[in-house]
Each structure stands twice: as C-alpha cells, then as structure tokens.
C-alpha cells in the first residue's frame, strides 16, 4: 500500500528506507524538502507531487525527517498514527546512536529497522480493518419512526411545532404551536397573495422574549404589510416608468468643458514622426536635477539600507537571573516553586512543547500582523516555526522566547533569500551574446508604479551601457503613451545620442490607444530584434485581479510573446490584499496559457518603499506566496531611487519591536 518510507537526517544522509515499488523516490522527496520545509510551509504535513502524496514528520530533537509516500488516489487513514508510531519506535531503539553530536555515528551505524517497521505496518493496517464500517440502521431503529405523521407536515409554523413537541414545555410556545397548527393550512394557501394577516407566529426556542401574543401579531402584520408592499411594487414602478420616456425625448447635447477646445485636433500632442524618432529634450534648467543624477546608477543596484538598532536584539540573548519574569512558561502562582521552576527552566536541557511556544507564537504573530504581513501568511509562518521547533532541546540559559524569535528570524531570512540567481545585467549580456533582445514585462494592479519604475529601470540599464526599447502596451489609460514619451525624452537628454554613436539610448514603440496590447508587444520585440536593441521593457495597463477579461488579455500577451522576465509590480503599502493579487495573477497566467509549461510571475518589484518606515511585511507576504525573489525595490520617484533587496535589513526591521 505504501510506496516508500524514508528516514533521513537533516544533514541529508538516508538512515533507512523502505521501498514498496520500483523506482527512485529521491526526486519526490527532494521536491518535498524544497517546496515545503525550505519554504516554511510545514503547517500541513501533506504534500502532493505528481501522482504521489507524501506525509512527513520532523523530529527536531535528533534532527531527523520521516517521510512516507503513497499513491494520491488512495486514502489511507492510518498514516498519521503510523508515522508517530514509527518515529517513537525508531527513537527509542537508536537513541544512543542518534544522540551523538557529529555525523560519524550516523555514517557508521547501520539501522536495521526492517522488522520493526513491518510489524508496525501490520498493526496499523489491522487496526483500520478492525473498525469495520457501521451497518446501516433499520427503519424501526431510527428516530423518524417514533414521530407522528402530522408533526412532519411542513408548514411555515409547522416545522417549529414539530420541534416544540419534542422538547420545550413553555406555555406560550404550546399556545403558539396550537395556533400555528390552525393557521398552518391557511398560510400555505395565502403566501402568494397580499396580506396574510393570520400568519404563523415565529416562536423562539426559549419563549417569546417577553412579548405578548398580541404584540407579536402586531409586529407580524407590520412585517407582512411591508412584504405585501413588495407585491405592489410592479404597479409603482410602472408609474415611474412613465416619466422616463419623456426624458428620452430630450436630445442629449454634448457637454461643454470649460477649459477644453472643441476641436480634437488641438488635443493631438503626438509628433509627426512617431516610432524611431529622435526625440530629445533640449538641456534646459528643468533638466538640471535630472543631470545631477547622471552617473549614479552604474553597476549593480545598491541595496535598501536600514538603521537597525541592535540593542534590542541583544536583550533577548542575555538572560537575567531569576527575576526574569518575562519567561512565560514559568509564571506560576506559587512564588517559591515559581522561582525554582524559573531557575530550572534556565539551566539544563528542556525540550520545547507546543504549549510552551503557544503564547510566544501568538505574540509574534500579532507583531508580524502589526508590521503589515498578511494575516494568514503570519499564521502559516508561525505554525511552520512551531513544527520546526517542536521537541527541540534548548541549551542552557536560553529562554523559549529567544529560541522562537531566533527561529522565526532565520525562517524569515530564508524566505527572503532568492531561490535562484538574480543578476539582470548578466542575463542581458547573455541575451546580447545570443543576438536577441531581453524582454521584460511589467504587470500589476492599477496605480502601483509600473510606468515610473519602468523608467527607473531603463535609466539603470542605460547607465550600464545597454540600449532600451520601451513598448507602450498600455493602450487604455489616458496619457500612458505620453507619459512614457516624456520619460524617454528626459532619459535621452541625460545620455545624449552623441555618446552612443548617433543613436538614442531609449526609444519608444507605441501604436496609440485602443489597440491590442499583445500585438503591439510582438511588433515591438520584432522591431528590437531587427534594430538590435538590448532590452525591451513592456509596460502593460493596470488591472484588478478579479477582472476576468483583462486577466485573460494579460495572459495572452505573456503566452504569445514569451518574455524573459515577468515582473509583478506591487506596492509595499498593500496588506492582506497582496495575497489575493498574487494568487489570482498567477492563477490567470497559468490557466490561460496554451502550453503545458506556462510562464508565471518570475520576480517582484516592490514599489513605494519609502512610504513605509518599518512596516515591511508586504515583502514577506509577496515572496511567501510566489516563492519568487524581489528583484527591485523602488524607493521614490526620481530616477535613482532604485535598489535591490537586503534580506537581513528587512528582517531586522520586521523583528524590531
């Protein structure tokens, strides 16, 4: 029944394994490790990979992992308990070898666990067979046969009457019930028409809350008059319909705007020469502040800096003597025993249990939520940390709080570390060597800063010597194309084309408004390839994640053009909404692409980072959901406000009290 069962140390050595079927299970177990344990999703212990479902258990005292795998279609009920039994048996049997620090015993020891395993497996399987499914009850045995027929007639009040007969003995209720029985037949016929005056009362289970039957009847008449008023609605709306046709007679004249011209030609700000134009802005005093930023973005991006005050963190490490009333697990009422207990907790090895960690984790979860981490992400993180620490033996002079805090800090740093190499400049060089443009697509909801950050990224790229083509695929928002054109002019004025051998560094590819975005993107990429541009930055329109047709359009743009990098632009101010946005964007991209290897979000741009001081939780939420790294951090609206993420600084800001 089981496909495999492995026991391996956290250092990676397989101590014992059982294989029920042929075929290696190293791949699935590695996938389990990478997606669950390393991404801190150990809250639920079930993981499904292809056709295999795996359950696992962590033993934190001896640093072991127990994994069992079986076919996804089977539902085996004994697996959880079986895992626990196996863990206990293995620990008891090999305690001596496992307790050694250092891997020598693990390497040299041979763990002959086969017989124990088979025995436990047999016991587990028998226990499930033992509790056979319960035989069906006969009709005579059921409760339904005890009831009278009359009580089961369903009327509006009759239902309640049935309940009344079984239990309640309140006098009022009985009276209402009998009244209801009488009314019941009449109400069935009278529901459709206007005012059922003698409606069934609605007796509460525990009496009528002090209202007399007359008051009840009066309230119900009011209620039904209002309901009956609904029956009158068609007539009233028909009366209101009559003024409407009169209104339609009036022809709607065009609205006169005060500041606008009457001629659409006046609104056309586009130049005569469109694509590939040499649009540069003359160097006036407006460009002075732009020119100041010239040359600041060469090389790799600087990372976000934080003045992290290290003093508070040190306090956690140093344990004060018995007066450490902050130790939550030892706050007992009896003072003398409490002091003794505190001392015992400080010295000597104590293994962590769920109850010990509970209060600390609750406080940490609230702290994370206060720092703008999405609520369910915070709880999942805390569960995962609890699982990782359960059963772990604490060293001397460490409190529960400090251990849990340290573990949470480690897992946060782990989440923020990119799972793959993030080096855009290197990838662009690689694409240049292959004579194709490097295509980056920006997507996100409305107003997060896609166009602004696109301009910042193109500034960074041209500072490092690449030529950029901006594809204006936002064909919806008014002024989107003009905005990009303005950025293009300013960027070109800072790096004049004379430097580049007569060709401007940044060019804009646009086709106006109202066209299909995917088509424009495809043409822009072809144009870039033929004119040997290094990078194509595709700007898309902002869209809400619930807007299905727009999400389909975005998925089509990405599936058709296969960009090298799909960046999701999210603002750092977003809270729980981040989860929803990212999940739905990823879902849409995966669902609506035709291929079996859909392109989903590859990286995140975190914008408006300067507006939050230390409530940096949005970074955690976004990386946790997608598992993708944060590639850029936007910290302002000028061209040099672009940084890369510094995981340690963000985590220290997050854990700062």
């Amino acid at each position: 029944m089981l496909d495999f069962f492995t026991i391996f140390s956290k250092g990676g050595l397989v101590l014992w394994c059982f294989q029920g079927v042929n075929g290696s299970f190293t791949g699935p177990v590695n996938a389990l490790i990478r997606s669950v344990i390393l991404q801190e999703r150990s809250g639920s212990n079930l993981f499904i990979h292809d056709a295999l479902s795996m359950k696992y258990k962590l033993d934190n005292e001896f640093e072991l992992v127990f994994v069992v795998g079986f076919q996804k279609i089977l539902t085996l009920t004994y697996v959880d308990k079986f895992l626990d039994d196996v863990q206990l048996r293995f620990r008891d049997r090999y305690k001596n070898q496992l307790e050694q620090k250092g891997a020598m015993k693990l390497l040299n020891g041979s763990f002959q666990f086969q017989d124990d395993f088979q025995q436990l497996l047999r016991e587990a399987e028998e226990s499930t067979k033992a509790c056979a499914p319960a035989p069906m009850k006969t009709f005579m045995q059921s409760q339904k046969s005890q009831k009278t027929v009359k009580s089961m007639i369903e009327t509006r009040g009759g239902e309640k009457g049935k309940e009344k007969e079984s239990n309640k003995k309140s006098k009022n209720a009985k009276k209402e019930a009998s009244a209801a029985e009488g009314d019941g037949d009449s109400t069935r016929g009278g529901t459709q028409s206007g005012l059922p005056k003698k409606s069934s009362p609605k007796p509460q289970e525990n009496g009528n809350e002090g209202l007399t039957p007359e008051e009840i009847k009066r309230n119900q008449q009011e209620f039904f008059r209002r309901m009956g008023g609904g029956a009158k609605k068609p007539s009233s709306s028909s009366s209101s319909k009559s003024p409407k046709p009169e209104k339609l007679q009036r022809v709607k004249g065009n609205r006169e705007w005060v500041m606008g011209g009457t001629n659409t030609k006046e609104l056309d700000y586009s130049n005569k020469d469109m694509n590939g134009s040499q649009d540069t802005l003359p160097a006036t005093k407006d460009n002075a502040e732009d020119l100041k930023q010239l040359g600041q973005m060469k090389g790799d991006l600087r990372s976000v800096d934080y003045e992290s005050s290290e003093e508070e963190e040190e306090d956690e490490e140093v344990v004060v003597s018995a007066a450490a009333a902050a130790n939550p697990s030892k706050s007992s009422s009896k003072s003398f025993r409490g002091v003794f207990g505190m001392l015992k907790g400080l010295v000597g090895s104590k293994s962590l249990s769920q109850e010990d960690m509970e209060p600390v984790l609750d406080k940490l979860r609230d702290h994370l939520i206060a720092k703008n981490v999405a609520a369910d992400i915070a709880s999942k993180l805390c569960e995962s940390v609890a699982k990782k620490l359960e059963g772990k033996v604490m060293g001397t002079f460490t409190t529960v709080t400090s251990t849990v805090k340290q573990a949470l800090q480690d897992s946060l740093v782990q989440i923020l570390q990119p799972k793959r190499r993030v080096d855009i400049l290197r990838d662009v060089m690689e694409a240049r060597a292959q004579r194709r443009p490097f295509v980056v697509t920006f997507c996100g909801v409305n107003g997060v800063g896609k166009s602004t950050n696109l301009a910042k990224i193109s500034f960074w790229l041209i500072e490092n010597g690449f030529s950029v083509l901006i594809a204006a695929c936002d064909t919806f928002r008014a002024g989107a194309v003009e905005q990009l054109r303005t950025h293009q002019r300013r960027l070109n004025s800072m790096h004049p084309p004379e430097e580049n051998g007569g060709r401007p560094r940044v060019q804009l590819y646009e086709k106006g408004y109202g066209k299909d975005a995917a088509g424009i993107a495809m043409e822009a990429i072809a144009y870039a390839r033929s004119h040997s541009f290094d990078v194509v930055l595709v700007d898309t329109a902002g869209r809400m994640q619930d807007n299905a047709p727009l999400m389909v359009a975005l998925a089509k743009l990405i599936a058709v053009n296969m960009p090298d990098l799909v960046l999701f632009v999210g603002e750092a101010l977003v809270g729980n909404e981040a989860v929803d946005q990212l999940v739905k964007f990823n879902q849409a991209l995966a669902d609506h692409s035709m291929s079996d290897k859909p392109r989903i979000i590859d990286g995140i741009v975190l914008t408006k980072f300067d507006t939050i001081d230390d409530k940096v939780g949005a970074a955690i939420s976004m990386t946790y959901i997608t598992g993708q790294p944060i590639v850029f951090v936007g910290t302002g609206q000028t061209y040099s406000d672009l940084r890369s993420l510094n995981a340690r600084a963000v985590v220290s800001a997050l854990m700062k009290a």
Partner: protein, 265 residues
C-alpha cells in the same frame, strides 16, 4: 619626571605591603587571579576559534553529502537535500605515517547547497575555514555555469574569506558520467565567466552602509583577464567521482581529493 610622579605611589604600595594589611593583600591577590584567568580564557577560546575546519560547499545536488560520507567512512549512502550542516572529525590518510602526520585531522563540515540556506551557513562557518572544498557537478556544469560562477564570486569577494585566504579546492564531481567535463575545461570556463561577472557586479559600487550587494573586493588584477592564479589564496582543481565507476558498492574515486586534503593540513 614620570618616575618622580610614580615614586610616591610605589612607596605607598610598598609601605602597605610591608604593613601586611590583609585587606589590601586580599584585593591584590584577587586582582592577580582575575587577570590570570582572563588571559587563560582568552587563550583557550582563542584556540577554539583558530581555523580548523574544511568546508564542503557547492550548488544543490553537486554531491557534497556523498563526498562527506565517502571521505569519512568510505561507504556509499543514499542522500537527500541537506537542510542543515553536518560536521565530523576527519583524519587525514597519508602514505607516510610518521609521528607528525598521525593524528592530524580537522573538522569536515558539509554545508547545505540550497540557495535559500546557503548564505546563512556560509556566514556562520566562513571564519573557521582553513580550506574550502567547492564541489561542482561536472555533468550539468554547462547549464549551471552562471550559478556556479556567481556562488564562487560571492565566496571569493567575501571580506573575511579574502582576509583569511583559505585554500580553495575546486572538486569536479560526477566524473563517472560520460558527459562530465574535465577539470581543465571547467577552470577555463569559470575564469571567463568570473571575468564577466566582475564587470557586472563590481563596477562602481557605491559605499552603502549595511548593504552587501557584492564585496568591495575586485577579483584579480584590473586590466588583465581574470585567472585563478591572481587570487591571494591557493586554488587547485581536482577531479573525483563520489559514486564510483562501478556500482554503488564499489570504491569511490576520491584519491586526488584525499591527497589534496592531506597537503593542506
């Protein structure tokens, strides 16, 4: 002139010592004891932090844990992705068993290679490293070239590692697979890649406090193409096959690596 200043001070101490005042004597003895114990502690702890470890680093799935197992016990063990480090004492095997070489050993530490764990563990153990064994999967090297180079670059530009300059042994593992590249090819490709990387990574990095976008160290010599011989530390390239050319029960071909380790210690 200072002598004149100290003179009355010394006189007063001498007088008090001669007076055999117990309180002053006790204080002096206590001070001496404290100073001696502080010096002792410093020596003991200082000895502990001398670099006596050899780190096994590399990308995920390059074979570090298997090399670890083979070096220590010679056995083949199935392995999974490591989540934490493993460490053990390794005794150097050498041909000449003299009184010097016997018992010379160091701590072999196997660090996880997964990208999200790598930085933390390297951070923790880099100060204790006497040598770094960088394991490379020779079979898929071409695909992973940029990742390998980036990891190597971050190691070589780390300030502490540059200061300590531990010996670097680049082990080209998985030579039993037919498509495996040889150590020479790997060396050339890495040099080329690192050459490009130092341009993209270190061009005009401004000093930002708290940030480590890349070390402030420039690899090799400016103006010349990067070569491993330009580094301050000793770099060697060896080939090995942890799995062995025969089946799992066969011997692993790690002799070159063992010889290298013997030379280091």
């Amino acid at each position: 002139m200072e002598a004149a200043v100290f003179q009355p001070f010394l006189d007063s101490i001498q007088k008090e010592l001669q007076a055999q005042d117990p309180a002053v004597l006790a204080v002096l003895v206590a001070l001496v004891v404290v100073i001696i114990s502080i010096i002792f502690m410093k020596i003991v702890w200082g000895r502990k932090t001398t670099r006596s470890a050899v780190l096994l680093v590399g990308l995920c799935d390059s074979g570090k844990t298997l090399i670890f197992s083979r070096l220590l016990s010679g056995k083949f063990k199935k392995t999974q992705t490591s989540i934490t480090d493993s460490s053990a004492i390794y005794n150097v095997k050498s041909e000449k068993v003299t009184s010097q070489t016997k018992g010379r050993g160091f701590t072999l530490i196997d660090l996880p290679g997964h990208e999200s764990l790598r930085p933390q563990f390297v951070e923790r153990f880099k100060s204790a490293a006497r040598a770094v064994v960088f394991v490379v999967d020779s079979a898929v090297f071409q695909k992973e070239l940029r990742d390998v180079a980036e990891f190597l670059y971050s190691l070589l530009t780390d300030a502490e590692i540059v200061k300590n300059a531990p010996a670097l042994v680049v082990t080209c593992n998985k030579q039993d697979i037919t498509m495996a590249k040889s150590a020479k090819v790997i060396q050339q490709q890495l040099e080329k890649e690192l050459n490009t990387l130092r341009v993209t990574r270190s061009a005009a990095l401004s000093t930002q406090d708290g940030s480590t976008a890349g070390g402030t160290v420039y690899l090799g010599k400016k103006g010349k193409d990067f070569e491993f011989s330009q580094l301050p530390m000793k770099v060697e390239f060896v080939e090995c096959s942890a799995k062995g050319y025969k089946a799992e029960d066969g011997e692993a071909d790690i002799e070159q690596l063992e010889k290298c380790l013997a030379r280091i210690s």
